[in-house]
């Protein structure tokens, strides 16, 4: 393999390894929960085994020996578990989780630097200890089972077969004949039907009775009788046969022998399945896998190109206007028409690229399940998680950047919010606390709510702490929201000792900044004794935005259109002052105003008219009016970050290229609202 294909392969590996780890994570959580009750799904355990197995095989191919060795040790333990040689208990689940943690760190580490490694010996020793501590209890009940059946079973399937026999279940063979064009759905339906009544141990395909058919023999363990199953799968060409069980005395060894013969010769004679090579079909067979995996950087590049195209289109548009204005009417009109067509196609292209970048937030939520489980475990608290709206889609980059803040919020909720079991019982609450993680789309925004049913935030406690820390004056009056606001102030922690989990030297102010960097907003609601809710409002995508271009004191700014609710023209006399703040009446409610010339200390020419324009901006439920001198128009802009040096500039989200070599600043609506409404009725980032 040359360098490029090997680096592509490594990227592929990391992506697949991450997927496997996420799946392992999810499956282990389910397994852990059911292990507590002692009744787990063998198929679940088997899929965990397969995941560890795949990871071992993959990492071995890349020479990542640390991952390979650890996955191998996990696989050994999982193999013994699924073969019933080791019994599943809480200790085993814990060791598996710890191993998964190390695997996650290794894979993440190698994402940054392939040479990254960890000492996996201690965790491997733990895995071995668990393995050696358990006696081998497997006894084979397979003697007497038709060897022709056994020969196609993997060791695991053999184990499942003997487990079924151990439980005294009937062993049936279900034979079904399916059309080649739809056999996978048909077979899946049949399997699902059977799985309701028992366990499908093996699925053996054989050539069917005609060229267009395939026959499948399902070995099925069930407590139901063959007659019941026959009635259940009632379909032409499907037969049910008892191999071992209830009516065994009625079945002579001869019959069993016949069964074996039937299995061996189940593939019907020659002429049936002739390779029919048809040009169209063979070409359609090439693309079996319907998905491709793409590096997000490539999508970024595409998005940037689309962005540049959109800007070029803008330039052509204004050229067309100029041509028309210079008197060449016909040519100008034609050019305008052509540009409009271009615009429509560009819109589609832009939408298409945008859609490709969208991923369901479920990806993110699944990672959080693990956090909840671990943090709850470390605190000795009982916490369940309620996920909703996992299908809501967000830009991949936003999802990535949301991972840390969300994790932090959840840690906080468990650490500070959810009470201990004793406290909960004393408060008359269910002993198991709940963290809700709900996502929903609201227009151009996605709202993610993290809700806990814990003790809530006591405003008085927060106040005392803030006074102690010198953050506020001892006699300062605080609104409820002002209290929440304090929680987001750097250096504030309500616990005397910073918890190792939620503390880690950083507080909610980091969460606050992370969300702000995504042009998002965070609000808090809390009820003492009832719990706390944090709502994060995020734009669906960050890449290209439509913006309203405005002029204030001779300077030009862009306001993201998804935050603009409406624009108004008002007489100056309509502006009133309430509590030193300018407001106007808008449809029976009071709209606070913001003068950017004051925020940015602009000293440009004041427009001497008795009218002003107000741009009404809003996020979530909050509204504010920005006073501007002139509305220039609506335009697509590509936001570029100002970079580290200027990132502290308040009220500015970034710079945008207008397409005519002019760069303007884009207002950070969330930030401005936060600043202006601070202490009002919500907390803004």
């Amino acid at each position: 393999m040359d360098d490029t294909s090997s680096s592509r392969a490594i990227k592929d590996f990391l992506a697949e390894a991450e997927e496997i780890i996420e799946k392992l994570n999810l499956d282990l959580v389910t397994l852990g929960d059911s292990a507590e009750s002692g009744d787990y799904d063998p198929e679940q355990l088997n899929s965990i085994f397969r995941e560890a197995h795949s990871l071992k095989g993959l990492s071995g191919m890349f020479g990542f020996n640390d991952i390979c060795d650890l996955a191998h040790h996990m696989e050994n333990l999982l193999d013994s578990l699924r073969l019933g040689k080791v019994s599943l208990d809480a200790q085993v689940v814990e060791v598996l989780f710890a191993s998964l943690d190390s695997l996650t760190r290794l894979v993440n580490g190698k994402g940054d630097d392939e040479a990254f490694t960890l000492d996996v010996a201690p965790i491997m020793a733990q895995l071995e200890a668990v393995l050696s501590g358990k006696p081998d209890t497997e006894t084979s009940l397979l003697a007497g089972i038709d060897p022709a059946i056994l020969t196609v079973l993997t060791e695991y399937e053999e184990h499942r077969l003997s487990e079924n026999l151990k439980k005294g279940r009937n062993l049936l063979r279900v034979k079904a004949n399916f059309n080649l064009s739809s056999f996978d759905q048909d077979l899946a339906e049949l399997s699902d039907l059977l799985k309701g009544q028992g366990e499908v141990i093996s699925t053996l395909p054989c050539a069917g009775d005609s060229i267009e058919h395939l026959t499948f023999q399902l070995i099925f363990g069930t407590a139901s009788s063959p007659e019941e199953i026959t009635a259940l799968v009632d379909a032409e060409g499907t037969t049910v046969e008892l191999l071992r069980g209830e009516q065994e005395s009625a079945v002579s060894p001869d019959d069993l022998q016949k069964g074996a013969v039937a299995l061996e010769t189940a593939s019907p004679p020659a002429a049936t399945v002739a390779p029919a090579v048809e040009a169209e079909e063979s070409s359609s067979l090439r693309s079996i896998s319907r998905t491709v995996r793409v590096d997000i950087d490539k999508l970024d590049t595409l998005m940037n190109i689309v962005g540049e195209l959109v800007l070029s289109k803008g330039a052509i548009f204004s050229l067309a206007d100029q041509i028309k204005a210079s008197g060449v009417l016909e040519l100008g009109t034609e050019l305008q028409k052509a540009t409009r067509l271009l615009e429509r196609r560009l819109d589609e292209l832009q939408k298409g690229v945008m859609e490709v970048r969208m991923v369901p937030v479920a990806q993110l939520f699944e990672k959080m399940i693990r956090i909840v489980r671990r943090v709850a475990g470390e605190h000795g608290k009982k916490v369940g998680i309620d996920l909703r709206g996992g299908e809501t889609e967000l830009d991949k980059l936003i999802v990535e950047d949301l991972s840390d803040p969300l994790m932090h919020i959840i840690r906080n909720a468990i650490d500070h919010g959810i009470e201990t079991v004793e406290e909960r019982i004393a408060a008359g609450k269910p002993e198991k606390g709940t963290i809700c993680l709900w996502a929903s789309q609201k227009g151009n925004h996605v709202v993610i709510e993290v809700r806990d049913d814990g003790r809530g935030i006591d405003p008085e406690k927060v106040r005392r702490k803030a006074v102690e820390k010198g953050l506020i004056a001892a006699d300062a009056e605080l609104t409820r929201e002002g209290v929440y606001d304090l929680l987001f102030t750097p250096g504030f922690s309500t616990r005397d000792e910073v918890s190792d989990l939620s503390g880690r030297g950083v507080g909610m102010d980091v969460v606050h900044n992370n969300i702000a960097a995504l042009s998002g907003m965070i609000e808090m609601e809390s009820e003492v004794g009832q719990g706390t809710t944090l709502s994060i409002t995020l734009p669906i995508t960050l890449a290209i935005i439509k913006a309203l271009v405005v002029r204030i004191s001779g300077k030009t700014y862009a306001i993201p259109i998804n935050a603009v609710l409406e624009t108004l023209m008002i007489e100056h006399s309509a502006i009133r002052t309430i509590e030193r703040r300018e407001v106007i009446e808008l449809r029976q409610s009071t709209l606070p105003l913001l003068r950017l010339s004051e925020v940015f200390d602009l000293e440009g020419p004041q427009v001497a008219t008795d009218r002003s324009f107000i741009v009404v901006i809003g996020m979530a439920e909050k509204r504010m009016g920005v006073v501007v001198d002139e509305l220039v128009g609506q335009q697509d802009v590509v936001i570029k970050s100002l970079g580290g040096a200027l990132s502290f500039v308040r009220g500015i989200a970034g710079a945008a290229d207008l397409g005519n070599q002019k760069t303007i600043l884009v207002l950070d609506v969330g930030g401005l609202m936060s600043e202006a409404l601070r202490g009002d009725n919500a907390l803004y980032v």
């Binding site: 191919m61 193999d79 395909p205 896998s289 995996r293």
Partner: protein, 122 residues
């Protein structure tokens, strides 16, 4: 006409590795199946010259695929290589007794795989 090789393997990355290893050898027509079902769909429609299969796949495992291939007069003699992570000795023996021609243990080197393919196709 270039020889047709069917690869049944559920790991995308592993499939990619196998495909690139084989492509580097020359002109082969490679058919990819991400599971046993896809392999079953391809087999009757294509004249496959060589089958490579993983053992641990969901629903239809590699052994069952080997059994299917070997019990069908049309592919009775089609060379069949199992590629699987070292694991159960029993699975390996079964694979060979069901009629697989070779058993390649992951991790393998490109040369090992290429050597086997040459052995069966040249």
């Amino acid at each position: 006409m270039s020889k047709k090789i069917l690869i049944a393997e559920d790991s995308t990355t592993m499939r990619y590795l196998i495909v690139s290893t084989i492509s580097a050898m020359g002109d082969f027509d490679i058919l990819e199946a991400a599971n046993g079902f896809e392999a079953l769909r391809i087999l009757p429609r294509e004249k496959v010259d060589l089958v490579l299969t993983d053992i641990n796949m969901p629903d239809i495992n590699g052994l069952e695929l080997v059994s299917f291939v070997r019990n069908n007069p049309h592919y009775k003699t089609t060379p069949l290589i199992i590629i699987s992570t070292e694991g159960s000795e029993r699975d390996r023996e079964k694979g060979l007794s069901l009629g697989a021609d070779a058993y390649l243990v992951k991790p393998f080197s490109p040369e090992e795989l290429q050597g086997l393919i040459r052995r069966f196709l040249e």
